[in-house]
């Protein structure tokens, strides 16, 4: 075990990997601060460039972009109440209040430190837990694999704020897109419509770039942001001793909570941050301070979401199942290198497995060193207007998509995906489940078909094996429960409308709630 860790550090500390983790982390910081381009879109843009790099270097850089962007998102959250992504939404509440009180410095400092501790705790957990879990996962048969993949997709549907049915429809759409191309077992072309370009299937890169990068830029163009930097001066720059004292508990609790939540595919760092916030609020002696600048409201969620974003690598590195959009893109990067992540990764590619884990320690440390002194510089970066960044990002997107296989067809795909992403957003169809399903689709289908082939066509194989049955029950519950509640709600409303109709004799449109379940 310790030999492996040392080996990992040998990989991570090679000059090329040090260079690329630095590049990744800095890019991530900048991207996290700038509005519009998120970690997902940036990583999607970088995918074509990773092709020429060694596998472990590619993932090290992309991972750096990922957790770097989480750090960066804090800056805009605290200074402008603009969260870089969902997980920063909570930091934006109390962090912004602290900034209004002239305490942006301590807020930024505590947030950086909490993230560092959270990340380190998670990486330590990852180091000890991942190989054991990979060993256990090697005993998974195709039926269990199919069940886990299905459960991961169902979990991904629960995290959004919108309708479960819509998220599920997007999962089906993603699975459908993944079907385009040659049949994995029989080789027959499927859903290609006779098109030569679609013959070998669709790459994740143009879809991801269009759906998340271009669509975001388009959406931004439609709105006008009225956001202003804090005008009041920074009264304190460093956190006070009482800040540290108040933050210690939330950081410790947040790290462990984040680690556990992040290791499950689906919920992700936003869920971890929210859970930590509500835990701290309930534990606090004076909960009314939350929302008005309680430092615990920054420390807890910060360490939780950084822990979660690091422990989220566990399902990817051990099972080969990505739990979020960003991890799905890393999965794509590994595929571009000819590596299929799964339980065998730790044995077949130990340099990737241990190198990436060790590099996360290094990257986290670099982030801490960078983010505290450079916060002032990053504030200046915010001055780049989105109006200039938009077209530049689009040009880079298009060149990047073209360079994948020297094909203008992929550029059209980016455009189509961008339009689709824009429209989907308008009609409340979430894009994240689609991308996740696109990546998980081949795993799910292959496992499903293999299980059937092995059991000679007996679908009972999924429920007679205990682990597979257990996972499937969870997945089914996740689907059935919101549907059940929805039907019950509809029936209650129907009864209410009937009695009202009888008493008042008037008709009106039934009110459909915007949330399901």
């Amino acid at each position: 075990m310790f030999d492996s860790i040392i080996f990992g550090f040998q990989v991570a500390l090679e000059p090329i990997n040090l260079l690329y983790v630095f590049i990744g982390v800095t890019l991530g910081l900048v991207v996290g601060i700038l509005p519009g381009l998120g970690a997902g879109a940036t990583i999607a843009l970088l995918l074509p460039f990773t092709y020429g790099l060694p596998a472990e270097t590619a993932i090290i850089m992309l991972a750096g972009v990922f957790y770097g962007s989480m750090y960066g998102g804090r800056v805009t959250a605290i200074l402008m109440r603009l969260p870089g992504e969902a997980a920063a939404a909570l930091t934006a509440i109390d962090g912004y209040e602290l900034a209004k009180q002239g305490r942006a410095g301590p807020a930024l400092g505590i947030s950086a430190f909490a993230s560092f501790i959270g990340g380190t705790v998670a990486i330590v957990g990852l180091t000890f837990f991942a190989p054991t879990f990979a060993g256990y996962a090697l005993r998974f048969g195709p039926a269990e694999y199919a069940a886990v993949a299905l459960l991961a997709l169902m979990l991904a549907c629960t995290i959004g704020s919108g309708s479960f049915a819509r998220a599920l429809a997007m999962v089906a759409a993603g699975l459908l897109l993944a079907t385009i191309g040659p049949d994995p077992i029989l080789g027959t072309p499927r859903l290609t419509g006779g098109s030569l370009e679609l013959y070998s299937g669709i790459s994740i890169v143009p879809i991801a770039i269009g759906l998340f990068g271009v669509a975001e830029i388009l959406h931004y163009m439609e709105r006008s942001h009225a956001s202003s930097l804090i005008k009041s001066g920074l009264r304190d720059v460093l956190p006070t001793r009482s800040d540290w004292r108040q933050s210690a508990g939330p950081i410790a609790r947040g790290s462990v909570l984040g680690f556990l939540i992040g290791a499950i595919p689906g919920p992700g760092s936003a869920a971890a941050a929210f859970s930590s916030y509500s835990m701290e609020k309930r534990r606090a002696k004076d909960p009314s301070r939350f929302g008005k600048g309680a430092i615990e409201g920054v420390a807890g969620p910060e360490s939780a979401d950084n822990a979660a974003s690091n422990s989220a690598f566990i399902p990817l590195l051990t099972l080969g199942i990505p739990g979020s959009v960003v991890l799905a893109l890393m999965f794509g990067a590994l595929l571009l290198q000819g590596i299929t992540p799964g339980p065998q990764l730790v044995n077949e590619h130990p340099d990737v497995f241990w190198g990436v884990i060790a590099s996360m320690y290094v990257g986290n440390f670099i982030l801490l060193a960078l983010s505290v002194p450079l916060s002032g510089v990053f504030i200046q970066v915010l001055r780049i207007r989105m109006g200039i960044l938009g077209p530049l990002a689009i040009i880079i997107s298009l060149y990047g998509a073209y360079s994948l296989r020297n094909s203008t067809f992929d550029m059209w795909l980016v455009l189509a995906a961008g339009l689709a992403g824009y429209v989907m957003r308008k009609v409340h169809l979430p894009p994240a489940p689609l991308l996740l399903a696109f990546v998980v689709g081949p795993i799910l289908e292959n496992s499903f078909r293999q299980a059937l082939l092995i059991s000679d066509g007996d679908p009972g194989v999924f429920v007679t094996r205990p682990l597979s049955a257990g996972l499937l029950v969870c997945a089914v519950l996740l689907i059935v429960w919101p549907a059940f509640r929805r039907l019950r709600g509809a029936r209650a409303k129907l009864k209410a409308k009937e009695s009202e109709h009888q008493s008042t004799g008037s008709e009106h449109e039934p009110d459909v709630p915007a949330r399901l379940g």
């Binding site: 530049l392 689009i394 009609v427």
Partner: protein, 161 residues
């Protein structure tokens, strides 16, 4: 005048919302049906010997069912409204479409310069000077990174091929 028209405008807005949401649900259902049919055409095979059409067929059924559920239960949702800036989105999409078309024929450099320039001037309201400078720098940088450094072959460019 405004207040007299307001209920009518609101009713029209509600009607358009409903049409949009119903169309969305119908589109999903339609794709589901088409997929099921495609799966059937590809040969579903049997459970013991799954054919290439089994998986698409299953997905098609799921999509159709979901489309119908969404039609029945969620047609009352309000879509995100279009703003008076929404024309920019379609202008941008049109510009990119023209860009890709030109890219295929005359190579990357001129379309890149044109797109950045036109976008910055028309959509981002930048000055002539900034727009030209940024467009030039961008085109040059793309050339250096993609053609020189990464050595990727592009369609024959009017400027440098």
């Amino acid at each position: 005048m405004e207040t007299v028209n307001q209920p009518r405008n609101e009713r029209r807005a509600v009607r358009w919302s409903r049409i949009t949401m119903v169309a969305t649900a119908l589109a999903i259902t339609g794709i589901g049906i088409a997929t099921t049919w495609a799966g059937h055409r590809l040969d579903i095979g049997t459970l013991a010997q799954p054919g290439p059409g089994l998986w698409p067929g299953m997905l098609g059924i799921v999509l159709t069912a979901l489309g119908m559920w969404i039609l029945v239960f969620e047609s009352g949702l309000r879509p995100e409204p279009a703003t008076n800036q929404s024309w920019r989105v379609f202008a941008a999409l049109g510009a990119v479409a023209a860009y890709i078309g030109l890219f295929t024929v005359i190579g990357p450099s001129i379309p890149t310069f044109a797109l950045v320039l036109i976008w910055l001037r028309r959509l981002s309201a930048e000055s002539w000077r900034s727009s030209i400078i940024i467009a030039l720098v961008t085109t040059l940088m793309m050339y250096v990174v993609f053609v020189v450094a990464l050595d990727i072959s592009f369609p024959a460019d009017l400027l440098w091929q």
